[in-house]
Point group: C2
Chain length 156, copies 2
């Protein structure tokens, strides 16, 4: 059990919108960030991926010779800050990144055995965030991931 999951590239996060890359790039531009080949490549890769990717996976897919690992980290940070990618923290402390859903915020279902990740449509943490607001907290964000064994792994 380590980084080498063979994700069966499910339907998670696949988007209907024809060009998510373009809008992501546009957002970056609006935020005053610069568009480089490295960033285009990363965004393109994220847009094509049907599942959220780890920094390392993204580095691999983009091509370790094309972009430096450090650049991947720095760009992902910038992207997250700009709101074009959503970070999904995992149990072990690693994170996965995906192009921020243009439609709505969501979370994932992660199989702890095979690593498969499915998208969950809804995100209703309103009640719990309301409690936080009531306590005077501001700038609220949250992390919610569900773990379990997928149907296949359940029967293993």
């Amino acid at each position: 059990m380590h980084g080498g999951h063979s994700h069966p590239d499910g339907d998670c996060c696949s988007s209907e919108s024809p060009d998510r890359s373009a809008s992501a790039v546009e957002t970056l531009r609006q935020k005053g960030l610069r568009i480089t080949e490295a960033r285009r490549a990363m965004i393109r890769t994220l847009a094509l991926s049907s599942i959220p990717l780890s920094a390392d996976a993204l580095h691999q897919k983009v091509g370790t010779d094309k972009v430096d690992r450090v650049t991947v980290y720095r760009s992902l940070d910038a992207f997250e800050l700009a709101g074009v990618v959503q970070r999904h923290p995992l149990e072990k402390g690693r994170s996965l990144y995906a192009l921020a859903a243009t439609d709505h915020h969501h979370h994932h279902l992660v199989c702890r055995q095979c690593g498969k990740i499915e998208r969950l449509s809804s995100c209703d943490t309103t009640a719990i965030e309301a409690a936080a607001k009531k306590r005077g907290y501001t700038q609220l964000t949250h992390v919610l991931e569900i773990y379990g064994l997928c149907p296949t792994c359940s029967h293993g």
Copy 2:
């Protein structure tokens, strides 16, 4: 921003039950785990803490001369597996550990500025877990943490 938060030791996680340590130890025994001085000390420390502790904080509180850092990690793993501690993953990938609430599962409100942690009474992820079950997932667990700026830090 690092390990050295000066948590104002709030009321989070403080428990009314007189002896949480004892029941935790009992659970370990039932699970076939061995009770050592190191483990007693760690459980005692966790039981006394009003807030979840990082592995390092626990190490410090127990006494770096009493127990090795490695033992802390290994024990926390064992404790988590045995269900006597609940792990709370943080945004940056670090984790905090607290004696599993004997009463009911809960989550936290974390100030990203000062690091203060408050307990949130309820945990209602039933709807989202139901969706997971419907997809055939088993052995479900989840991670839910809310981040924001506490009242004090909001005005800073």
